[in-house]
């Protein structure tokens, strides 16, 4: 297949660079011409986290000339289990500061271009136009659809991967004549239905595996080598260590890349994904209790039944001694609860328990409240000896 950069002028390599890239240069399929293409290439990584870490590290090492990074976050200690761009000393620092240092450390010839901002409909097109390839390593549907649409509108291939627990997906979207992300999934799931990494967890090596697949696809696109993952969805299951492949088709009725597109400019992706507007008002109606208030009432000997709707493995990390019924089992096990008693429901941070309270009220429970902020807030406000996770 032709390389993505075949029309752009190539860069020349210094003697220091020739020595650095010698293991590339002696592969006939790469050679001087390929390495010069890499140097001339401009790749934008969306997210400097789980996927972005191995992706950016390998692209920098390989000699991609210009690496753009978009991220607005600071390094959190819970990131370090998988985000290998960042170290313990970086906790609390902006991810792009940390990432820039690491990438320059690996390869000072790389031009690192940080964009310390949230990617939005207002800035995406201008940023994308300055790059040849976009690699999507974000963690939420709103940004996934934004990246896809902006790639289609600017004509940039979208090297995609996403992960959940032990599973990953990868593809190359929006390549010439190839399908886009919307051809695969026209609309996102409603918020909260599919758990985020923060909620569902992720095996630390999994973004490593998928991020390296992304880096491989980016390099193949630049060099014009092999068969890119265009029109194919790679499914990776780390537990069975099986790689499966599904055929993707360009949807002729796709609202963005179809024959008669209805999306001709970027839209409000928060609204499209239902992140604002729908979920907040529902939550507002849920009766709540503050951790301090619950503690006071329990200490005063008030009869309160504490219901924990987390999973058993979370209960093992820390608990308030409540009765454990995971949210997914609640409808089957609701008979274990006494509706005449006062019930306080909690989870880790308060969202799953809000769903549980909503469900219990629908089936007739009246004296049921949500512990605001969950066990995390309990640790902050009542008992700091309780570990947070």
């Amino acid at each position: 297949m032709p390389g993505i950069l075949d029309k752009t002028p190539v860069a020349t390599l210094s003697n220091d660079e020739i020595l650095r890239y010698s293991r590339h240069l002696i592969i006939p399929e790469v050679g001087m011409a390929g390495q010069e293409k890499l140097k001339a290439a401009r790749v934008l990584c969306i997210g400097a986290g789980g996927l972005g870490s191995p992706l950016a590290l390998y692209l920098a090492a390989a000699g991609v000339g210009t690496l753009g990074l978009v991220d607005f976050d600071v390094v959190d200690v819970t990131n370090l289990q998988r985000q290998i761009l960042h170290t313990t000393a970086d906790v609390g620092r902006p991810k792009l500061t940390s990432a820039g240092e690491k990438l320059k450390g690996i390869n000072p010839f790389v031009n690192v271009r940080p964009f310390p901002a949230m990617l939005t409909s207002a800035n995406a097109l201008d940023i994308f136009r300055e790059f040849d390839i976009v690699a999507d390593g974000t963690d939420n549907f709103a940004t996934r659809y934004l990246v896809n649409d902006a790639c289609v509108l600017t004509g940039k291939p979208n090297v995609y991967a996403s992960i959940f627990r032990f599973e990953g997906q990868a593809s190359v979207f929006a390549a010439p004549d190839g399908p886009c992300y919307r051809c695969l999934y026209a609309t996102p799931p409603p918020p909260g239905l599919v758990p985020s990494c923060a909620e569902g967890g992720v095996l630390g090596i999994l973004p490593g595996l998928l991020g390296v697949i992304q880096a491989t696809e980016v390099i193949k696109l630049i060099l014009g080598l092999g068969d890119p993952l265009v029109g194919r969805l790679l499914l990776v299951d780390a537990l069975s260590m099986k790689f499966r492949e599904l055929r993707l088709r360009k949807n002729p009725d796709c609202p963005v890349c179809g024959a008669h597109p209805t999306v001709r400019e970027l839209i409000d992706y928060q609204e499209f994904c239902g992140v604002r507007g729908e979920s907040a008002p529902i939550m507002a109606e849920i009766p709540e209790i503050q951790p301090q208030e619950l503690k006071g009432q329990l200490d005063a000997g008030k009869d309160i039944f504490v219901l924990d709707v987390r999973e058993p493995h979370e209960y093992q990390i820390c608990n308030l001694g409540g009765h454990l019924i995971p949210l997914g089992d609640l409808s089957r096990r609701v008979h274990e609860l006494d509706s005449s008693r006062e019930i306080v429901v909690h989870c880790r941070s308060g969202a799953r328990s809000a769903q549980a309270v909503e469900f219990l009220r629908q089936v007739g429970f009246q004296k049921v409240r949500n512990l605001r902020g969950g066990i995390l807030a309990w640790s902050d406000q009542v008992d700091p000896s309780l570990p947070k996770y």
């Binding site: 997210g47 789980g50 998988r82 939420n140 985020s196």
Partner: protein, 99 residues
């Protein structure tokens, strides 16, 4: 025939990664699954009974949207149906923690 259940939906399907069902079409197989696992139904179907747009269903390697008959595509005992939901994880920030 075998239906492969993706990780995010296993919690609604008795934590199983695959379920064997006896069905004549892809649609029948999914309906059987939804009947046996009531919590799974709303993740597969809209209130109107259509497949959710964020779920793709594959018969072996092919998206059923592009098969003749779509959901009514006939299946053999040796076939595999895959449910492939959209997942978004990757950057791993706490900013989108809905839990």
């Amino acid at each position: 025939m075998k239906v492969l259940i993706p990780t995010p939906l296993r919690q609604y399907a008795g934590k199983k990664s695959s379920i064997d069902v006896a069905a004549g079409t892809v649609g029948e197989a999914l309906q059987l699954l939804a009947t046996e696992n009531p919590d799974l139904r709303r993740h597969l179907y809209t209130d109107d009974g259509d497949l959710q747009a964020y779920i793709n269903v594959y018969l072996n390697d092919d998206d059923i949207r592009y098969l003749e008959g779509k959901e009514n595509a006939t299946v053999k005992e040796s076939d595999t149906v895959s449910i492939v939901p959209s997942i978004a994880g990757g950057r791993g920030s706490s900013a989108f923690d809905f839990s």
